[in-house]
Symmetry: C2
Subunit: 327 residues, 2 copies
Amino acid sequence: MKNINYINLYERERKKINKILSGALSKRKPSSLYEPGTYILNSGGKRLRPLLVLLSAKAVGGKFTNAYNAGAAVEMLHNFTLVHDDIMDNADKRRGRLTLHKKYDANTAILVGDSLLSIAYEYLLNDCNGNSRQVISAFTNGLIEVCEGQSMDTDFESRKNVTLSEYLLMIKKKTAAMAEMCCKLGALLGGGSNADVKALGNFGLNIGIAFQIQDDLLDISADEKKFGKTIGGDLVEGKKTFLFLEALEKSKGDDREKLLKVIERKGIRWNQVSNYKKIYEKLGVLDDARKEINSYTQKALKSINLLDEKNKNIFKWLADSLIYRTS
Amino acid sequence: MKNINYINLYERERKKINKILSGALSKRKPSSLYEPGTYILNSGGKRLRPLLVLLSAKAVGGKFTNAYNAGAAVEMLHNFTLVHDDIMDNADKRRGRLTLHKKYDANTAILVGDSLLSIAYEYLLNDCNGNSRQVISAFTNGLIEVCEGQSMDTDFESRKNVTLSEYLLMIKKKTAAMAEMCCKLGALLGGGSNADVKALGNFGLNIGIAFQIQDDLLDISADEKKFGKTIGGDLVEGKKTFLFLEALEKSKGDDREKLLKVIERKGIRWNQVSNYKKIYEKLGVLDDARKEINSYTQKALKSINLLDEKNKNIFKWLADSLIYRTS
């Protein structure tokens, strides 16, 4: 299949997932709970997590129809984390719309988040058959890791001595564990063997880490027109990203002083971004990030060697789309 | 068995549940997440929900050991709701200690709540065997209803025209559905038949409603020494309880005007409590509440007629302890 066909497939399945999500809460009561829930589920997004579920189900010989509810479930879980994270970060906008706690209030957002998670389990149960325990267990482990990752991420904000390996553990939990879980769910629901589940789980985990480092890299190196926002936001916010921590570990003297100031002052001004980008370039951390992304992507692809050629190709396309994305 | 033996059994099992809860998070990382989690799980409480799980497992021929993890799970779920509710209510104290968001902060409390729920599912899965799907489904339905009930309860605060039947639906969801779920879980894990699960579920549901109305009644009629706090708090806060809504439906003229003022002004002053208690007494709503409690309790006991005498007696003792409690 050519890439254009993969893109069409993705668009088609994304619409189906959107339709399920759009109707999931609309007829439930009380509307004080489910109207805000529908608002958030209707706010778009790439729907990459459901795609991982669906493709994994198919890759092991199952059908998309084995896993649509699970696909919706992982997107609900993802939106639960976004709603609660946005309260914690006091974020105003998400996907170009007001965040839930800004459109309503924090109390509503807490409860809507909780309820999205509860309905996620309900949807997941709809796709469960003989192996419910394994399916729910994979989902629950992903949820536990997301909470742990979010807690680590919050810790890092106030800590001054975060290491690169701590950072990698954090993104593994906060981002990659969810991708791992999506692939495992798909493989389980599609009737895959234990080896299939493990292989696809490893694909998800490694591609998830690559995805997050790519996220960090884009923030400083993207083409602003395609990126849709000004570059350097992570530095302005004083975020301890892969690039920042790698730079800190490599730097000496004056550069190191400047980097330590980012921590001390909890960020920089927008007009300092280009100076810091020069430090990153001098230290070679943009290239380090690219190498790291490539290495995790190769690991991801290696882990699904057991799949047949056709299925390998679609995951290859997916991996490429993620790591060559521009926004 | 005599009541003293039931009390000993309850104390013994409560300690076991406390021990499981106390150790559940203590060795996990990151401590930024699990230390506050342990704080809340160590803060005591009646542990009635785990007791319902254990007794239901035994009542259908199972053993307590089939359901300890599930018992811990329902208590974690309960604590998840308390942590999030306390943020929403901006409560300072819970069980004589600082609430989680006061001891730490709201962001920590949101995330710790989420994580308690995630670990609850993990514990529940530990007790699952052949019927995982039914077990997780019962638990998930309980969770969904708790969220819906909490949302209705929040709505009622600002609504002026809440009816008694809406109130009953709210407490069914917010309080009774959890008791129903506990009994169902126990029955499922103890290997009960569908009829057992239904019967015990009905017991939980009806005793849960009775429990909540008793809660409303105690707030205005308790012996303050035994109650441990000043009576009338619900009126002071302007809560739309069973007693208040029943009084509103029965009242006319001057009494009605006074009751409507409670809604309008969102509560009364402490020194007005005795006047309002007199209105309640005049309208007979304290007796109405007692009748209602009795009626739901009888329904609860009737629904477990299929149990043998020994098991019926322990549930009878439990029902009596709940409805004759003084605090």
